[in-house]
């Protein structure tokens, strides 16, 4: 039996094509994935991302605040000491001791005694078990609370914030000056200026019971419901990794385009640090733009380069660029501008190596 979000009945009633995503029955599109993609680049679209899990980390006993930050300093590859102002968010990997990526997540600093992690749906159970064991070993005074009572809706696009403020006028004052990667609580809504599309917008966490009315109010303002299909092409254009495709437990962040999220300069120790310090990355995650006609780049296609073989990790058609693009794990010596060849259904098609992102804020960054 697939799990259902608080918006499941709305998706079904809208005629969405549904798919099993990490054990959840989720909309892949509501008619046209490409139309949904363009709506986010040009106006505003919304995504039900309630399948992702918010996990709160707090002291078991109130008024013993400092332990949460200390625990996360040691648990996450990025450094929570960058979170100096309440509401600030940080992208980080959760690593195994050998440096393999258990998951990628966003950590929110809500109060000194209250941090929140938002983790992927398909890895949520694994993450909870991992973090639970780490808490038991290192910080038994803390508790982890999975917040399945909450829904999450991403509203994305150049008009997204205006639409949200129309629906929740009281949130305007609190979130108008919010900078990217910051969040603020406005009544029942936690409003974060984050996303997975390369556009401006909000990700809003709210009580599950309020989610259907909030969704319908945005729909009445012509915010377009978007499925996981558009979410995937938008994040690929934005050069953002998808866990399980672009990185997993078998690779480390240094070979996954995520070195910028790993803090190896501070003195603090964290799970996986010694493995990363000892690592000699021989591969990189790079972008590809298909030059030849003849097909679409897809994950697992083999890439031939002058420095050895690589593999496409995420590939699709870019609706914004009207050509096929991909993320690929390639030998480290391959450089932007190089021409490589991808095996597309038996044909070697030429592709140009680029540095992601491909698209940001509606504009092509390629040529």
């Amino acid at each position: 039996m697939l799990k259902q979000t608080p918006l499941h009945a709305i998706h079904r009633a809208a005629g969405a094509r549904m798919v099993d995503f990490g054990g959840w029955d989720m909309p892949v599109h509501y008619g046209s994935q490409i139309d949904e993609h363009h709506a986010v680049r040009r106006g505003a679209g919304m995504f039900d991302v309630s399948h992702m899990l918010a996990v709160d980390i707090e002291p078991r006993e109130p008024a013993r605040g400092s332990g949460v930050r200390d625990f996360l300093r040691g648990a996450l590859a990025n450094n929570v000491d960058k979170l100096t102002v309440p509401g600030k968010a940080l992208y980080s990997c959760l690593l195994r001791p050998d440096g393999g990526v258990l998951d990628d997540l966003i950590v929110y600093f809500l109060r000194e005694d209250w941090f929140r992690l938002v983790v992927n749906a398909g890895t949520a159970d694994k993450d909870l078990a991992w973090l639970g064991a780490l808490v038991a070993e290192r910080a038994p005074e803390l508790k982890l609370t999975p917040r399945r009572d909450l829904a999450m809706i991403a509203v994305q696009g150049p008009q997204a914030r205006e639409r949200v403020w129309t629906v929740v006028p009281a949130a305007r004052a609190a979130s108008e000056s919010l900078k990217p990667f910051n969040a603020v609580q406005a009544g029942e809504y936690l409003i974060a200026r984050t996303g997975y599309t390369g556009e401006d917008g909000f990700e809003i966490t709210l009580p599950a019971a309020l989610a259907p009315d909030f969704w319908r109010a945005l729909l009445a303002l012509s915010v377009k419901p978007c499925g996981l299909g558009a979410r995937d092409t938008l994040r690929l254009e934005a050069g953002m990794n998808l866990y399980g495709q672009d990185m997993d437990e078998a690779v480390n962040p240094l070979e996954s385009g995520l070195a910028w999220t790993v803090d190896l300069t501070s003195a603090r120790d964290f799970v996986g640090k010694s493995a990363l310090l000892a690592a000699h990355p021989s591969r990189q995650l790079a972008g590809l733009v298909l030059q030849d006609q003849g097909g679409i780049l897809r994950s697992h296609q083999r890439v031939s380069t002058a420095h050895g073989d690589g593999e496409v990790t995420s590939g699709s058609y870019s609706p914004t660029l009207s050509r096929s693009i991909a993320l690929a794990r390639l030998p480290a010596r391959v450089a932007p501008g190089d021409i490589v060849h991808v095996d597309v259904r038996g044909k070697p098609l030429a592709a140009r190596v680029v540095k992601p992102p491909f698209v940001r804020n509606g504009k092509s960054l390629i040529d």
Binding site: R17, V28, H29, S32, Q33, I34, G229, D232, T233, G294, G295, I296, R298, S316, Y317, P319, S324, R345
Partner: protein, 127 residues
């Protein structure tokens, strides 16, 4: 399900129309285009190529996946529809109005053995 009664079908989701000159015109069904989603790439066989029944001879790719298209019967490719190569989304808009290629069947009797609309609905309903 949009399955015109006057056409023949395969279990692999191709439709077939018999032309007065004995040729057949073929494409993918409306059910197939819906399942694939927005089409972004189509590759068609060379004119003059001889196909075996069930042979993979064309490719349709949507945003999310690539899918082979199979020859409904044995024969020789007479013509291909370049309009869908230039604009694959035409097949999403009208799967029966936008054919992929025409074939001269090796054995004219083969076409009659394909699924009729009722038979195809039964097959497609399970997939």
């Amino acid at each position: 399900m949009n399955v015109p009664a006057e056409l023949k079908y395969t279990a692999s989701h191709e439709w077939v129309r018999s032309e007065p000159d004995g040729a057949i015109t073929t494409g993918i069904t409306d059910h197939a285009q819906q399942a694939l989603g927005d089409l972004v790439f189509i590759e068609l066989p060379q004119v003059g190529r001889t196909l075996k029944a069930g042979e993979a001879c064309a490719v349709v790719e949507s945003v999310k996946a690539a899918s082979d298209v199979y020859a409904p019967v044995a024969g020789v490719v007479l013509a291909v529809n370049e309009a869908v190569v230039a604009a694959p989304e035409k097949v999403n808009a009208d799967a029966y109005g936008n054919w992929l290629y025409r074939l001269k069947p090796a054995n004219p009797g083969d076409v009659a053995k394909l699924l009729d609309a009722t038979g195809y609905i039964a097959v497609a309903g399970e997939s």
